[in-house]
Every structure is written in structure tokens, then in C-alpha cells.
Amino acid sequence: MLKRLLIADDHEIVLEGIRNLVGRSGRPWLISGEARNGEDAVAMVKFLKPDVAILDITMPQLSGLAAAKQISECSPDCRILIFTMHESGRLGIEARNAGAHGYIVKAQAARDLIRAVDALLEGGTFFGVPDDAAPTKEPDKKPGGLFYVAASFAR
């Protein structure tokens, strides 16, 4: 079944990277929206109702953590994955407190992103530790194409 993803980051290069990763992963995932700031992310989640929202932390208007909090309140069905540059145990705790279900660092994007989304889609959590590779779920590899629709609200 096609799963819908929403990604939010203020850097285009990151969005491109995620697109790339998702495409190569062969998963039946659709990137239904790309937000450039926290407010847009919350609105898009409300509107598009994705299954997973991948949020950067440092974004203009509203930070990823604040957005996560709002999303977890008004769209509780959406699984939230924090995807950030910062490696900090403390931040991980704060992410959890804000309602996120996963926390991964961009330095290990290749290793962790797909696995984390897999885990979240199955209803689990993924709080990755930067330098060890202990995932909580083993993903299934499926062949397939890449579909995505980018709906970005220009601001």
C-alpha cells in the first residue's frame, strides 16, 4: 500500500537528498508534500494527512520540535520523524517529549532514514544513536519505481 510522506526542511539540498533516497529505496512511498518551514509543515500535515512527517529542527517561523508538538496534537495519526544535523542525546529526549517517534541525524542519512521510516510506518519508534548501527526494525527491500508528487506551498 502506498504510504505518504511529508518532508520539511529549509534547505533545498536536503529535500533533494531525501527524494533521492526514497526513490532509490524502492519503497511504495509517495512524497506528498515538501514544506520549507514549521508552519507550512503543520498546515500541510493537516491538509495532506501523510503517514510520516520528516521534520528538520532548525526551520524558520516554527522549529521542528514545535511543529512536532502541534502535529502530534492535531494529527495524532501522523508519525513524526526528526531528521536533523545536530547530534545530541538531550535533543533526542526533547524530540521524544515533543511527540516525535523517531530521531535520526543527517550524517547517517544513508544508513538510517529508510530504516527509520520503515519502523515508524510499522508503528514503532526509531531513536538512532549516531555512531552505532543498531536499528530497531529490519526493513524489507521491494523493487519498484519512484513516484512522487511535490506540492510545495510557495511562500
Binding site: H11, I13, G17, N20, M85, S88, A107, A110
Partner: protein
């Protein structure tokens, strides 16, 4: 004050001389009165002698009258005259009793008087007896007696005159001396007073001059003081603006670091992350590469990772993001770990377990001080260890960095405004701390250095 003593002495002398002249004046009056009295005395003696002569003559005449006429009234006159004589003689004796010559004269006069009276008494008795009067015999008897008598009284008079002369001369001499003394002492006294007056006016003039000079000097001093004060104020003002400027510079520096750190991290860092992502993906596409390609790709991956680490380190050194998020409690150990790795200096960290969050400015300032101190430890101290301690004392957050290195040379440490010559870094630390109302202390010995920064923590919040 020699002048003062001399003037006083002069004045005292003047007064003394005036007193002397006063006394001399009195004496002069005294002596002149004595002179007068002697004259009076002499006159009285003369008068008394005259009196005596008159009375004796009266007695003589009365007896002659009786002798010639035999009338009883003449006898009565004679008797009354004779009765008066002793009193006069006594009076004369009293007047002249102080002079031996006169006493002799009086005694002679006395005996002569008695002799004459006896003679007359005899004559009268004869008459009374009815005998005939032999006038020539009487004359022959009485004339020598009378001339003797006159000689005696003359002697008394002469002696008295002589005495008077002597006495008046003495008195006069004394009087003159007294008057001379009066004149002289008064004149000298006046002179001395005048001298005293001159000395006083001289002193007064000198004093006034000195006062004037003092007043002028005071004015000049006042003007100089005012100028100095103005200069001091200008200095204060420029110090203040200098301090403000350095604070401003610090703040701009901080802002810039933050910006650069963030840019580096968020922008460049992300690019590197995504670069790594692509390389990872490239690496994991197993089927497509030869071994050498695969090796190269893996090298690229490693390079990307290294770059990311560098970027992270540099950006965190510039501006530690987690400082704002988690505070000194976690930021310091994180930093110390990196520092130990980079510098090979062993570090230790001690913190009060209840140490909570502080104001953002305070935490940043303390963090910067930590960075600066550790840089100095690494670069200059030669110490193998650095111990960091963070505690709360009396409402102040106290950060201490101690090493066991060779210390800071004494003359660098002891400078006028504290730490100026130790470098911009230390001055910066000092300024930061001061701006927050705290203080910075650096103590150093050849066995180690300790930097202690204490900042009041009014806005403390719980961890």
C-alpha cells in the same frame, strides 16, 4: 617668630620705662615737697628764735622798767614774760633735736637764758629790798650777757641756714635727678613704643603680603585643580567609551561567530551531509563498480565524513548550539572532551549537582572564558592537566580553571588596570565579566595558574 619675640621685648621695655617715669614723677614731687618742708622748718626755727629773743627782750625791758620805776605792773609783765620763755625754749629744742650742732646751740642758749634770768632776778630782788640801783654796774653786767645771747641766737640761725642750704641742695639734686629720670625714661619709653609700632606695622605688612601671595597661589592651585579635574573627567569619559567600544566589539564578535557558526553548520554542513548521502548511495550500489572504483568511492565517503566532522568542530567552537539548549552542565563536558582530544591536555570537570541554568549572556560569557583559558593552558602553560570547576556561591556562579603549568610571569600579572598586557583575550574576559557585574581573578605561581570568574546569577532557573 624671632620678630614677634623681639617686638614683645621692646614693648615690655617701653612699658617698664613708662612705669619708671611714673615712679620718678612721684619722686620728683616728693623731693620738691621735702625741699618745701625744710624751708618751712627753717622758717619756723627762725620764728621761734625770734620769738625767744622778743620774749627775753620783753622780760629785760620789763625788769628795767621795774628797776627804774618800782611799779608792780612792770614786775607782773616781767613775770609773765619769764613764764613764757621755757615753753619757747622747749619748742626750739623740739624743732632742732635731730641736729647735734643745734642741740648744743640750744643747750648754750638755754644756759645763757637761765643766766640772764638769774641776773635779772637778783637785780629785782635787790630793788625789792630797797637797795640803790647802780645802772652802770647793771649795764656792765648785762651788755656782755646780751651780746653773748645775741651770738648764741645768731649761731642757731646760722646753723639753721647752713642746714637749710645743705638740705635744699640735696633735695634739689634729687628733684633734678627725678625729673631727668622722668624725662629720659619717658622719652625712651616713647621711642620704644614707636619702635614697637614700626615693628608691628612691618609685621602686618609682611603678613598681608604673605596672605596675598597665598591667595594668589591658592587661586592658581584652584585653577590647576579644576583643570586636572576636567582632564580626569575627560579621561573617565574616554575610558567609558573605550569600555563601551570593547563591549560593542565583543558583542559584534559574538554575533559574527554565531552567524558564521550557524552558516557553517547549517549550510555547509548540510551540503556535506547530502554529499555523504550521495556517496553512500553510490557506495551501496554494489553491482556497478570495480574494486578500485569502490576503494575510491569509500575514500570519498571518508573524506566527506572528515569534512563534516571538521565543519561541526569549527562551528561548535565558534558557537556551541547546545549551550542554549542544554546549558553549561552538558556543554562544558562536551567541549572538554573535544579539547582533550585536540590538545592532549587531560581535563576534569566538577559541578554542583544542583547547578541549574543561567541567563543566556552569563552562560555564554562563562563558556567563552572557559575556551579562552583552555587555549592559554594549551598554548602557554605547558601543563598536562586542566581542572574545571563550576559552583554556586552566595548567589554567584563561579567558574574556575586551574592548571599545573609554569605560570604567568609576575610583571605581566601585576599591571595597573589588571590584565591589560596579558592579551586581548584576557581583557575581553575581564570586560565580559565586568559587564555582567562580576569579577575575574587570575592567580599564578611557577607551579600553576588559576582563573576564577564569578558572576552574579540573579536570573537563575532550575535545571
Amino acid at each position: 617668630m624671632m620678630q614677634q619675640a623681639r617686638a614683645n621685648r621692646v614693648f615690655q621695655f617701653a612699658i617698664a620705662l613708662l612705669c619708671v617715669s611714673g615712679v620718678a614723677t612721684y619722686l620728683s614731687f616728693f623731693y620738691s615737697r621735702i625741699g618745701e618742708r625744710w624751708v618751712t622748718h627753717t622758717q619756723e626755727v627762725r620764728a621761734t628764735v625770734g620769738d625767744l629773743e622778743a620774749t627775753v627782750n620783753e622780760a629785760g625791758r620789763a625788769r628795767m622798767g621795774y628797776l627804774m620805776s618800782g611799779v608792780d605792773s612792770e614786775l607782773g609783765d616781767y613775770r609773765s614774760a619769764v613764764s613764757r620763755i621755757p615753753a619757747v625754749l622747749l619748742h626750739l629744742r623740739e624743732l632742732t633735736q635731730d641736729n647735734p650742732a643745734q642741740v648744743d646751740n640750744c643747750a648754750r642758749l638755754d644756759s645763757l637764758t637761765t643766766g640772764r634770768i638769774n641776773t635779772w632776778q637778783e637785780e629785782i630782788r635787790q630793788r625789792q629790798a630797797g637797795a640803790a640801783i647802780d645802772y652802770s654796774a647793771i649795764l656792765a653786767q648785762n651788755v656782755p650777757l646780751a651780746s653773748q645771747y645775741a651770738a648764741a641766737t645768731g649761731a642757731v640761725r646760722a646753723e639753721e641756714s647752713r642746714l637749710l642750704q645743705i638740705r635744699t641742695r640735696t633735695a634739689q639734686r634729687r628733684f633734678i635727678m627725678a625729673v631727668a629720670t622722668v624725662g629720659l625714661s619717658f622719652a625712651i619709653g616713647l621711642l620704644l613704643l614707636y619702635l614697637y609700632f614700626r615693628m608691628l606695622t612691618e609685621e602686618l605688612r609682611a603678613r598681608t603680603e604673605a596672605q596675598e601671595a597665598l591667595r594668589t597661589a591658592n587661586q592658581e592651585l584652584g585653577a590647576e585643580v579644576a583643570e586636572r579635574r576636567a582632564a580626569e573627567q575627560r579621561l573617565e569619559k574616554s575610558e567609558k567609551s573605550l569600555r563601551e567600544l570593547s563591549l560593542h566589539v565583543l558583542r559584534s564578535q559574538e554575533e559574527e561567530r554565531k552567524r558564521i557558526g550557524r552558516e557553517l553548520h547549517d549550510s555547509l554542513g548540510q551540503y556535506l551531509a547530502m554529499l555523504k548521502l550521495n556517496l553512500d548511495l553510490l557506495d551501496s550500489a554494489e553491482d556497478q563498480h570495480s574494486n578500485s572504483n569502490r576503494e575510491q568511492i569509500q575514500q570519498c565517503v571518508r573524506l566527506a565524513e572528515e569534512s563534516m566532522r571538521e565543519v561541526r568542530t569549527i562551528s561548535y567552537l565558534l558557537y556551541p548550539p547546545m549551550l542554549e539548549e542544554v546549558g553549561l552542565k552538558s556543554a562544558i563536558p562536551w567541549y572538554l572532551e573535544g579539547f582533550s582530544t585536540r590538545s592532549n591536555v587531560q581535563t576534569s570537570f566538577e559541578i554542583d549537582p544542583e547547578f541549574g541554568r543561567l541567563d543566556r549572556d552569563v552562560e555564554l560569557a562563562l563558556f567563552r572564558i572557559l575556551q579562552e583559558s583552555l587555549t592559554n593552558v594549551h598554548r602557554h602553560s605547558g601543563s598536562a592537566v586542566a581542572n574545571v570547576r563550576l559552583s554556586m556561591t552566595n548567589g554567584c556562579a563561579v567558574l574556575q580553571i586551574a592548571d599545573r603549568g609554569k605560570g604567568i610571569p609576575d610583571k605581566l600579572l601585576r599591571t595597573a588596570d589588571g590584565h591589560a598586557s596579558l592579551g586581548v583575550g584576557v581583557r575581553g574576559m575581564n570586560e565580559r565579566v565586568r559587564q555582567l557585574g562580576g569579577k575575574l581573578e587570575i592567580t599564578s605561581s611557577p607551579t600553576g595558574t588559576a582563573v576564577t570568574a564569578s558572576v552574579p546569577a540573579n536570573g537563575q532557573s532550575a535545571a
